[in-house]
């Protein structure tokens, strides 16, 4: 990957440079976060000309390494005001890598009010006016179909929906998956950044692209085989995720009393089986038609946690139907209907909003009296209003923190204005430390302590006790920052957490590709350095330790059934980043 592409939307200039020295050894999150910290003014307005949006494949993307096709997208977040790295599937990452593109940067912003499409091919990068057909309320499904028809079946597409055009803080960037459906760089409003730069879509045409060079192909193949075996032989990454998707978590979090429900007032519900992974699996199987129990979000995924969820007639409704979305609408908002939740998921993908942020905002809006509790039809209608956007649509699209403020709520589940997802920090204490301290704002994927607390993979900690959680949250965040830099899907963690050979194989693949001799110590250092860079940006943007706190209500409101409160002291929380 030897090309570093900069598209300046102020001047229309396009530069295709050699990769700057300091970025040669970096990929994915390490690259996007270093770049944002180097070049984005930390105090800039996220929607102004000084913010920059960067797309970067991971170190292993484009190779035959299983599950290596994840992409990192970085910028300053309009939702949190912090640095942001968003990770997504789809075909983009592998295509960028095969085209030799280390990173694509979009900077500046045009003075006129038109939207543009950036088209990147092997020998050219061009800025074109966006076709009117995909603007002004056109959903992502239709827009992707239109652009595919126009530019060819195999192009990669990154696109913002109506929410991105309107620069709403929950707007995501959607990516075409192998079948022309949608994966999203969801959290933190990066779609609003792209929309502010008047870029409706980026098209990648990889015609003529070669393969990714591998320094030591034999070694690479051998390591990839060991790695694939580790993934396939673990019951979670080998079978569980494919069968039930991530939604299998509904029942275990519910049983453990850690499923935040009715805007974080209960830790357990009775209607869990209406929205569980077991029910999703049975429904997809029974309905048949377009339904698929398991599906990969990019070629080369062997874990396949995604699925196609069909309607009663067997027609496709949505894919990538994740636990966090189902939890937020099903438990936190109390909508007892998996089909309605599926339609809401589709609508959010189509409008281009983060389905975690907006779904939690829906639950908060119910608490605030904007919507009736548990009313799926009303929620779906309100979500669709984000595309217009009506005032209610704008409020929901503003995210959970905005809804909480507008409704005058005390109980607003956010950290750094990003909605807290599906695991209650009072009864899954480790994950609370990640929410509080990650530079991303509340984000379970930044250090998935649920694993050792509840799932007992890669650790065994009592979820109701503080013992060991600080060290655990630290090491999970460091490890995750490293994995996010490789292009690997985070779910490889389940395969390698308890398999030293699997973990070593991951490092061996990087070494074989680049002719390096990294050790696991180097990988930890990479993770630490990524987090330090991100913290540095946040500090210069005005964030202090005082922002690394959970909302106060967690300290005062005990969560049934275990009746626990959040009891880490500020000093203890600050220990997480003591490295």
């Amino acid at each position: 990957m030897n090309k570093f592409i900069r598209v300046n939307m102020s001047s229309g200039e396009i530069e295709i440079q050699a990769v700057p020295n300091q970025y040669i050894g970096l990929g994915g999150r390490a690259l996007t976060s270093s770049f944002v910290n180097d070049e984005v003014k930390p105090t800039c307005h996220p929607l102004g000309k000084n913010n920059k949006l960067i797309f970067a494949p991971g170190l292993l993307s484009g190779t035959s390494a299983p599950n290596s096709g994840r992409l990192s997208v970085g910028a300053k977040s309009p939702l949190t005001g912090t640095i942001k790295e968003c990770n997504t599937g789809g075909v983009f990452s592998q295509q960028m890598a095969k085209m030799g593109i280390k990173a694509l940067v979009i900077e500046g912003m045009p003075e006129d009010d038109k939207f543009y499409v950036i088209k990147v091919s092997m020998d050219n990068v061009a800025i074109e006016e966006a076709p009117v057909e995909i603007l002004g309320g056109c959903g992502n499904y239709d827009a992707i179909a239109f652009l595919t028809e126009k530019h060819g079946k195999n192009v990669g597409i990154a696109i913002v929906g109506p929410a991105g055009e309107h620069r709403l803080p929950s707007a995501n960037i959607s990516f075409k998956d192998p079948e022309g459906n949608i994966r999203s760089a969801g959290r933190g409003g990066l779609g609003a950044v792209m929309g502010s730069k008047k870029v409706k879509a980026v098209i990648l045409d990889d015609t003529g692209a070669g393969t990714v060079p591998i320094a030591e192909p034999e070694k690479f193949r051998a390591a990839a085989k060991v790695f694939a075996n580790a993934l396939l032989s673990h019951p979670v990454s080998g079978q569980g995720l494919a069968a039930y998707g991530t939604d299998v978590l509904v029942n275990i979090l519910n049983e453990a009393g850690g499923l935040p429900s009715y805007n974080f007032t209960q830790g357990r519900i009775d209607h869990n089986d209406i929205i569980s992974g077991e029910t999703m699996n049975a429904t997809i199987t029974e309905r048949g038609g377009d339904g698929k129990v398991s599906h990969g979000c990019h070629r080369g995924c062997i874990i396949k946690c995604s699925q196609w969820y069909p309607d009663k007639q067997g027609k496709y409704i949505t894919s990538g139907f994740e636990y966090e979305t189902i939890w937020a609408l099903g438990a936190d908002a109390g909508i007892k209907n998996l089909d309605l939740i599926a339609y809401a998921d589709r609508a959010m993908d189509d409008i281009g909003v983060d389905s975690i942020e907006v779904s939690v905002a829906v639950a908060t809006a119910m608490e605030g009296g904007l919507l009736p509790w548990g009313d799926g039809e009303a929620a779906l209608d309100a979500i669709k209003q984000i595309a217009v956007p009506t005032p209610l649509g704008r409020i929901l699209g503003g995210g959970c923190a905005v809804v909480g403020k507008v409704c005058g709520l005390y109980r607003t589940p956010v950290v750094k204005d990003q909605a807290i997802p599906a695991y209650d920090p009072r009864s899954v204490k480790g994950i609370g430390l990640t929410y509080a301290t990650t530079p991303m704002g509340a984000d379970h994927t930044a250090g998935y302590c649920v694993s050792g607390n509840i799932l007992k993979v890669g650790g065994d900690l009592d979820p109701l006790k503080k013992d060991g959680q600080i060290e655990y949250a630290r090491s999970m965040q460091i490890g995750t920052a490293a994995v996010d830099s490789t292009g690997m899907c985070l779910f490889v963690y389940f395969g390698i957490a308890d398999s030293p050979e699997g973990y070593q194989a991951l490092i061996d693949m990087i070494n074989a590709q680049y002719g390096l001799s990294l050790t696991s110590g180097d990988v930890d250092k990479l993770g630490e350095s990524v987090l330090k860079v991100e913290r540095d940006f946040n500090k210069r943007a005005g964030f202090t330790n005082a922002h690394d706190r959970l909302p106060e209500f967690f300290e005062y409101e005990a969560l049934p059934p275990h009746n626990q409160v959040w009891d880490f002291t500020p000093e203890e929380i600050d220990e997480v980043y003591n490295f």
């Binding site: 569980g240 995720l241 029942n251 049983e255 077991e278 636990y323 799932l455 993979v457 059934p561 275990h562």
Partner: protein, 74 residues
Amino acid sequence: MKIKVKLFATLREKREKEMDLEIHETTTPGDILDLLGIPQSEVAIIMINGRHSKLNASLTENDTLAFFPAVGGG
């Protein structure tokens, strides 16, 4: 004494997902797996009343005992 047993994910295949059982005071979660014909190797997580537990834990009247295979997500 009476307890409630819940099964999840693959453990539900060809079994009831929830049942009330009459057991002796000395019965352990391991014994109940034997009774239900579930190999211990298929069970990764045991919870009693929402708290992680072990195969040889003791049970009391009205406990809810839950068995899970290895599950994950995120």
